[in-house]
Symmetry: none
Subunit: 190 residues, 4 copies
DNA sequence: AATGAATGAGGGTTCATTCAT
DNA sequence: GATGAATGAACCCTCATTCAT
């Protein structure tokens, strides 16, 4: 990659970074192309040269999240550890990614592109659930559907509540408590 | 209240109703003041005379949700039924309200007002948890904080996933499955 | 019409007038909404309030031309005068309208709306041709198609050549010459 | 001409060709420099290196039309054929060129350069008219001005109405009809 | 000499808000 | 008190043009 390409990649990366920061802070809807341009130190036109449209920029942003998550999750799923430890790993990964991107769980019902992020997570967890059931780590009396929804609630809950994420990081008791709740429910281990 | 004031209240109520319908259908961001005015059959200016700004109209909308929820929850909390039945009642209420208002979980980081809706729900549940612990219906080994977060995840999960709400309504197994998961977690009843 | 409506109509008429002047001078493509707004002494938004889009404003402009022409032509077609005098009348009308609007003959082949102006003129002339043939004022050895095209060339020729229009107005000899050419062609009266 | 210059000329010719194709298809206004660059397989900057500005490129395009027409016309004017046949030849040439370049008749009032194409045609025809008058093929009772305008109307009529050109090519009767009209006018040969 | 990248100026359009009546 | 009309600021996007390499 010579000087030219480096410069282009530099700009593109600057834009990406600026977009990431702003999108994650305020949500893509609230961020204008102008905002991003200012933050990246380029003109609006440069953004269009590099990404074509705001939509594509948002797309790129979401794709980068997905790829980030996918990578982390794939790694964890092959860990040689206990099911619980893996689950903790997934949760921690999820918290990290969520924190970084301040992911918005997209509302369905709009004409937006499908929620690729949620989809990716769901797929990963689905595999995890199958494994858990097979290995006797999960209840077998419930449908995959119910388990998926349950896990989804957790995952989204973490995504949507930064203040809880915050407290989890500082307060291990809360972290463990939630994990325990997840595993044993509100009734607790008998 | 004389004729004038009655008419004024009439307009105000029309606006409120129009706003509610549109906000709940498309989200406050996607609805313009003009949209509301047309739907309410008044001029935009009338909206400003009555509410001062769009922000205040949104505020009003959110407050009406809160008061709606509060009422329902207060009723349920004094039911003479089992803890579980009450919980089911709360959940159902929450689903109903969520469906009606298509509640958006507000993101922090913006200059918006604090998430009054979530706050209200949280308060109600906090009381419910206290009661549950006292009556031995909930694990006592976990902090109120953890339990609150857990319940919040559930509540938001239902709010944010209309397709799951939908399936719950049609498929009692899923509904019961999720309730069971909530109560006993993924490990299941021992 | 009270003060309110008058004000609105005032603005709308101002905008129309400004648009007409600019469109006719530079062509709709070269005129921006901002140009019109400045000339009309209103904000761009006002134009959108009144016309919805630039396209509709252009539409309105073209429709007003058509209706202007139509009226004039209809009047002339019922004149109790000789065929030639009528033709002169039509031509003069056409020159006047063309001068006022500096009509662009739209290029076919683009996705623009059909050339309603040309269409209207053509219709009027078609009727005129039929009458001329019936009354023995026009050659009957030629197809209506050929005659229509011939007349169209004349009409467009006048539209597209302001400098000729100009000279025609000042120099009756040219005017009569062209009329004679139209009637007897380059060979001349035998 | 060494390798460098040859390559430069190559680029320049590529650009010209691309511009011609696009201008003639969509009109100079609707074609962006980028469009041309992509089609020519060069960078936008190369276009500026070779032509200085888009305006000059348009200029160049129009000049090439003029030179094309001029050449054809000059050839025809020295034909050893009847006046009518020559006229037919001119007309046919004009149709061909018009079809190839999809010539736009420029509107006055803009800051564009004068209509060089029309000017060139006019000059050619002026000569032709002089010849026609001298040889008794044209009426002598009319000013050169009127005759020129008459011919111009025809020429522009053909340029501006592709659908008529089309029908002329397929339907010899229309073609002959128009020629006859041109020669004998609407009154017809006595 | 050719290029990839960047840009300023301007395009059409929307919207929350204000103001004269 | 309600309204019709008007508006400034912002939004996304395009394009002719320039400049470092």
């Amino acid at each position: 990659m010579d000087g030219f390409e480096r410069r282009k990649e530099q700009s593109k990366e600057d834009i990406r970074r600026a977009a990431e920061e702003l999108f994650s802070k305020f949500g893509a809807d609230k961020v204008s192309v102008n905002d991003i341009a200012r933050k990246a130190g380029v003109s609006q036109a440069t953004i269009y040269n590099n990404f074509g449209s705001k939509d594509e920029l948002v797309h790129d942003y979401r794709k980068s999240i997905v790829s980030n998550i996918s990578g982390r999750f794939r790694e964890i799923l092959v860990w040689k550890k206990s099911y619980l430890e893996k689950f903790q790993g997934l949760l921690q990964s999820w918290i990290d990614v969520t924190d970084r991107y301040n992911i918005e769980i997209e509302r369905s019902g709009t004409k937006q592109s499908p929620d690729t992020i949620g989809q990716e997570i769901e797929n990963s967890f689905r595999e995890f659930i199958k494994e858990g059931k097979e290995q006797g780590n999960l209840r077998t009396d419930l449908s995959e559907e119910a388990l998926t929804a349950y896990i989804k609630f957790f995952q989204q809950g973490i995504a949507n509540n930064p203040e809880i994420r915050d407290r989890m990081r500082r307060d291990e008791k809360l972290s463990n408590g939630l994990l325990s709740l997840f595993i044993y429910g509100i009734r607790g281990q008998s």
